[in-house]
Amino acid sequence: MKTQLCILISLIGMLSSNWLWAKEVVLNPKDPIQATIDRAKDGDTLVFLPGTYKLNSIVIRKPLTLIGKDYPVLDGDGKGNVLLIAATHVTIQGFKIRNTGKSNMDDSAAIKFFDSKNCIIQDNILSDTFFGLHFSNSSNLTIINNVIHAEAIREFEVGNGIHLWKCKNSFIGGNQVSGHRDGIYLEFVTETQVKDNLVQKNMRYGLHFMFAHDNSYIRNTFRNNGAGVAVMYTKNVLMQENRFEENWGSSAYGLLLKDIRDSKVVNNYFFKNTIGIYMEGSSRIEFENNDFRQNGWALKLMASCDQNTFLANNFIQNTFDMSSNGSVVLNKITQNYWDKYEGYDLDRDQIGDVPYRPINLYSVIVEKIPSAVILWRSFMVTLLDRMEKILPTLTPDQMIDESPKMKAYDLS
């Protein structure tokens, strides 16, 4: 709906300004591309016929629509950027773009936008690019249904898939990003929606944003990225219905929250991550109706967090439900379902009659000595944990869910 609206708006914009003059130009691989672009009038449509176009640093400074017919290939030949755009109302659609330069010096990208507005980047397939789509100081961007894939082996050999710096009012939807450093990177980006993207197997973070306020992230899947999703120094974020899956590693999390305030994490699904959510220095975040399943640690809540609320979440089959580095607890944990809860419900109000302690003894030990994890589930460790449950000595006694649910929430 939103995408269609965007296209409509930009179409109206184009029509109103140059509609009388606009014409269609057809290009084939032998044509001089830069010269054709320079000759084109505002609002012209350039149709690229199938074939391979060797291009470098093609500059667009006027509203143009570039359409690829049957996915023509724009090949950067391993040098620099392919397209450089500083304009409004530019549409790039239906291209295969590949082989950018591999330099950290100029951040080579398949398409690089500066100071642009109302641009649409749609249905492109990017492969073997350093940065995929790179935007700075732009707004009202529509980035949809692109497939962006890199095959680097080491982190410094590749840039980000979709990179936005100082942008606002944009929509990133339905893209597939893999093999980059960060799948989607947002810095100083505001009022932007990231929706329905599939971000997997990136070296560092699937989604990485810093100082990016008032954004929402909805129905994305972040799978098997180096360290999951990192959210830093940001306020007023909505994270909803995302899937965080199989982010494995020594410092891998489904979601890393660092210095985040006044945000909502709702209806997300954390599955098989080493750490479901790791948070420090964060406050006033509401975690509601999230499903934590088969994570190593569902939550690592550092003592620097306060006034967060964990309400009505499911904790199922996690190795450890929770761990913390301190004992002072200023967060509210209530009415969650914990599958490890062994209490009873005599008054049958679906709320357990005895509180649940989500931090168990052995998670405290493993926190101090990581290699001790190898003894987990041994008879001896089970005994230790039982004893601690009866006579808590080491685990923080304020960290409790006073009203644990007896049955799991249906969050499907």
Binding site: G249, S250, K272, Q317, I369, P370, S371, R377
Partner: protein, 255 residues
């Protein structure tokens, strides 16, 4: 050999113990399936029980069986058959019986209510641990001439491998927490069959947490088939080795 095994097996399968043990495991599995909402929880609960009970039963039963059958073993030895065949037929009969009890007791409920890879591996671990502890029991039995002493030794081995050993390892890890201990820890764990079985299950149930450990060696071990191969072959050695020694002793023993 097969004839001997056939008769030994026939005898053991008809014993009341085999029935009770199978029924007991079946009852446990059924009740676990009843109270757990998903297969992951089922395999967790069953694993906790299996890791404890199966080695214990295997150790005690195999020792008792050996001594109860001593006269029969003697009778066999007076017949024109080789000692090794007499020994192996008894051993295989015990292992087969213990394994069948697990496969039926735990397996039937799985057939009814479904199983995942974790549960199937659990069955395998149960069979292997039965074999390992039957081996320990036979070794204890051929080394001593006193049933009570042999049961004592078997029980001691069970307590050692199920409880004391892990305590020692934890103590070690705790004392040397400042040193890089990943390889020694892993090596120590390979020296305990119960731990090996447990780790095969951990790799099913807690792989996400295992991958959180910083050591590259750990990660490599657990993320690839290498870990599987190493753990499985270590377990195989644990089956073969005690039984092999027991066989040697049996071959030289006077009856």
């Amino acid at each position: 050999m097969l004839k001997l095994l056939k008769y030994a097996l026939y005898d053991i399968l008809k014993s009341r113990f085999a029935l009770i043990y199978t029924f007991f495991l079946f009852l446990i599995a059924v009740s676990v399936y009843q109270i757990s909402d998903d297969l992951g929880k089922v395999s967790l609960s069953l694993m906790n029980i299996l890791i404890m009970i199966v080695p214990l039963i295997a150790a005690v039963f195999a020792t008792t069986h050996f001594y109860n059958n001593l006269e029969f073993i003697e009778l066999m030895l007076a017949q024109p058959v080789k000692r090794i065949q007499v020994f192996l037929s008894q051993l295989f009969a015990v292992i087969l019986m213990l394994s069948l009890s697990i496969l039926i007791g735990f397996g039937l409920p799985m057939l009814v209510w479904g199983a995942d890879s974790g549960l199937l591996i659990l069955l395998g671990v149960g069979v292997v641990l039965s074999a390992v502890f039957a081996g320990f029991a036979f070794l204890a039995s051929v080394m001593t001439r006193d049933k009570a002493k042999a049961i004592g030794v078997s029980l001691a081995l069970w307590i050692y491998f199920s409880l004391v050993y892990d305590g020692l390892v934890l103590y070690l890890i705790y004392s040397f927490a400042d040193y890089p201990l990943e390889k020694p820890t892993l090596a120590l764990v390979l020296l305990n069959p119960v731990d090996l079985g447990r780790i095969l299950m951990l790799m099913q149930l807690d792989i996400s947490a295992l991958m959180g450990y910083t050591g590259a060696f750990f990660r490599q071990f657990f993320s690839s088939n290498t870990g599987w191969l190493i753990a499985s072959s270590a377990l195989l050695i644990w089956i073969v080795f005690p039984n092999w020694i027991a066989l040697k002793v049996f071959g030289k023993r006077d009856f």
